[in-house]
């Protein structure tokens, strides 16, 4: 769970742990349904330890979800810096790419079979994401997020098709 996400959600006002979790789930929709409850509180504890937030327990409470969390000035700076960042989350192409080369070179497996397997996986994910998107109202936050996921999966699938073409050509030439 991105630490910066939790920080940013506290920027508006201090909240209880369970309020944060509720807000996250509302923003994520189905994607957030199986979000591990503990994830949020672990992250909050880490952030508290790192001095980016302060947690004030209600009298007689030590559970994280009952604490009221608030940004520290350092935490606010961190949020500002994060918002100014323009880097896009990096997909893990390099690892897959190296995987194919290694499989071919060491005769460990057929690269095309690996590609096909990955394609099948992505297609299934695409199907699921799409199905989920259909259940959401148009223009909602959840729908927007799911569209992004779908489009990224599409892009990855295009690349996998290119991998398949290239590796097929290499095989026929070999």
């Amino acid at each position: 769970m991105q630490q910066e996400v939790i920080l940013a959600m506290l920027a508006k006002e201090p909240s209880h742990g369970y309020e944060l979790r509720a807000r996250l789930r509302a923003a994520l929709g189905p994607v957030g349904e199986d979000l591990n409850a503990g994830q949020v509180y672990v992250t909050l504890t880490r952030l508290e330890k790192a001095g980016l937030v302060t947690g004030t327990a209600e009298p007689g409470q030590t559970r994280p979800d009952r604490k009221v969390y608030e940004l520290t000035p350092v935490g606010q700076q961190r949020v500002a810096a994060w918002l100014a960042e323009v880097s896009w989350p990096k997909p893990d192409l390099t690892e897959f790419h190296l995987k194919l080369i290694a499989a071919f070179a060491g005769r460990l497996a057929d690269p095309i079979a690996i590609v096909d397997a990955q394609r099948r996986e992505l297609l299934r994910r695409l199907r699921d994401a799409q199905r989920a998107a259909f259940g959401e109202p148009d223009n909602s936050d959840a729908a927007l997020l799911l569209e992004g996921i779908v489009l990224r999966l599409q892009a990855d699938l295009h690349w996998l098709e290119a991998c398949e073409r290239t590796w097929t050509n290499r095989r026929t030439k070999a």
């Binding site: 591990n36 099948r120 297609l123 994401a129």
Partner: protein
């Protein structure tokens, strides 16, 4: 009015559509192109099959063969148990009329007819009464969410709406199978979504679909996805059954 089905069926054939060793060639000698090269295909009733592949791999040709718009050089095609590859011109016309609905990439609507007039046309050509044809057309248009656009001309409709009208038209004569050739090829992403949803609805309603596409989103709505290259099938994936993993992992939230 299912005249097409008034002939006795073969025994022991489960699939709705089955093709064996289909071949279609163009040109000869050095310029010979095997558009469809020895293709076998089975489609069950109620199944959605997506055929993907790069441009020029023969997927549109295959669809035209399956839909009776073109004749194979060799091989056999059976629809609901009856051979269709050897039908004469009249038999093919009846096939297109009663058993197969076609959706084209460029919609191919009649520009001078309104949406409802376009949708009722196959029924009128089949000899149905004008009233029944109009009724069915309006039903189909409301099913595709275009009831309020029934009297619009195609030029007054968006791309997605036009394709939805085309889909409604393909359903006019209650076809056994709907064949779609790059249905979202000429649409932007918003229109693609409209058509996607429609195909999903059709699938839920039990319509058998064969969709040729290079858009993986469309393919992802299918039960089965076939990859085609150079006129032949090279891969087949069953997409139904089980999710691949949690959506949050998809979103990159975990870890």
């Amino acid at each position: 009015m299912r005249t097409y089905l008034d002939q006795p069926e073969d025994q022991g054939v489960n699939s709705l559509l089955s093709a064996r060793t289909l071949c279609k060639r163009y040109g000869r000698g050095d310029a010979l192109v095997r558009a469809v090269d020895d293709v076998d295909l089975d489609v069950e009733t109620g199944e959605t099959v997506a055929i993907m592949g790069p441009s020029g791999c023969g997927k549109s040709t295959l669809l035209h063969l399956l839909g009776g718009l073109d004749r194979p050089d060799s091989g056999e095609i059976k629809l609901a148990g009856k051979r269709v590859d050897q039908l004469g011109e009249r038999g093919l016309a009846r096939l297109r009329r009663d058993a197969v609905g076609f959706v084209f990439q460029s919609f191919h609507l009649m520009d001078e007819l309104t949406a409802v007039e376009n949708v009722e046309l196959p029924a009128l050509l089949a000899g149905r009464s004008p009233r029944a044809a109009r009724k069915r057309a309006l039903e189909l248009l409301s099913r595709t969410g275009l009831a309020d656009r029934a009297k619009f001309l195609p030029s007054a409709l968006s791309g997605g709406q036009r394709q939805r009208v085309a889909v409604a038209r393909a359903l006019a004569n209650e076809p056994l199978i709907v064949l779609a050739d790059e249905p979202t090829g000429n649409l932007d992403s918003a229109a693609t979504l409209e058509v996607l949803r429609l195909f999903d609805d059709l699938h839920e309603a039990g319509q058998t679909l064969v969709i040729v596409t290079h858009d993986s989103r469309i393919a992802a709505t299918a039960d089965r996805m076939i990859t085609m290259r150079d006129g032949a099938f090279v891969d087949e994936t069953r997409l139904t059954g089980g999710t691949a993993g949690s959506l949050s992992r998809l979103a990159g939230l975990e870890g």
